[in-house]
Subunit: 210 residues, 2 copies
């Protein structure tokens, strides 16, 4: 039976909230009633934060990360190494790599990976702009940091071929046993790769101390 | 490690979204990035819907249900039976009872139940206004429709005592086996109550047909 709301304002808010991922109509109603139970200030601040987010955020013209300016703070930071470009799927991945504090180069956000099943081809991704960026010179290394899935590997290979003629070193993230994971539960392909690409114990020991 | 956001607008939106119940910082970030990926229109509409909700909704001065006017559409509907008042915990419960389409009386929203553990006493609930409403006359029956929990029963009993001297019939929701539930998984107290309050089969048959 169709839920009836006492108010069209409530109904509109529930409609809009339930368009968020993972939020159905029941949760949306719970959220809306929660907002009503809070200080009046909170609902206004939440609404304004969303509108400001939507109005204020644009994409960096160089790396396609989100930014409040034409060039994002990472690309415009002179202390970062502009000769190394880490290619990632999404804005969220940029945050994840930034959180590691292990990378001082720049990024290039593709906006996804090639996935024929989802109708995503190379043209919908920021691959052309990556090729241009490398062709313009100054980039010595491109790190492919896409998911270790079929789609990610396909995209890696496509980019590798597109950059093939340009004088740039192309690397990819190490494949291996995840830190904290047990060997027993690690799949065989990963185990095989981790064996082939084994590293000197003394080196990993030093990395640990960093 | 503290998550770093590329933008203060994003950080503010994540902060506000993560104050919603059941939404942590990771989910809030996912929602914010989702909003950014959608049409510009959507973020604006969502934000405005929340602000309009917060600005436009008030509480009915009679029954304390949410309303866009001083008296809610239920209380101001002349075709509803003003002599029967159903006492419920929350605005959500009003919607649930309205969805049954079995009730044509009015409501009284308490705003919770008495719960000393959560520091909620009778003074924080709309009990005084219920007593006044009944004392003003015109109400023939008060239906106690609170949760069948310790707190609900306590509140039922408190209201029963407060209304004790007034000439009004006080009823409560039937306790029994939930429709669709198996006897095997129904607790003994409910089974006992359902046995004591058994109804004529021919009557329940007629209710089924309604």
């Amino acid at each position: 039976m169709e839920q009836e709301y006492a108010s069209t304002l409530l109904e509109t808010a529930v409609n809009e909230l339930s368009r968020l991922p993972g939020i159905g109509r029941k949760t949306a109603l719970r959220l809306a009633l929660h907002i009503l139970r809070q200080d009046e200030k909170y609902g206004i601040e939440l609404g304004e934060a969303i509108i400001n987010l939507r109005n204020g955020i644009r994409y960096c013209t160089t790396c396609h990360n989100i930014s409040e300016t034409d060039t994002c703070p990472i690309c415009s930071n002179p202390s970062r190494d502009a000769s190394t470009v880490c290619v990632v799927e999404s804005v969220k991945d940029v945050m994840s790599f930034e959180n590691t504090r292990q990378f001082n180069g720049l990024y290039h956000v593709l906006g996804g990976v090639i996935s024929p099943m989802d109708g995503i081809g190379p043209d919908q991704l920021e691959i052309e702009s990556l090729v241009e960026r490398v062709a313009n010179g100054g980039v010595k290394e491109v790190i492919l940091a896409l998911s270790a899935t079929m789609e990610g590997e396909t995209t890696n290979f496509y980019i590798y071929r597109r950059l093939g003629t340009l004088p740039v070193k192309i690397t990819q993230l190490a494949r291996g046993v995840s830190v904290g994971n047990e060997i027993e539960y690690t799949d065989e392909i990963t185990l095989g790769r981790s064996l082939l690409n084994r590293t000197l114990f003394s080196e990993s020991f030093n990395q640990h101390l960093q």
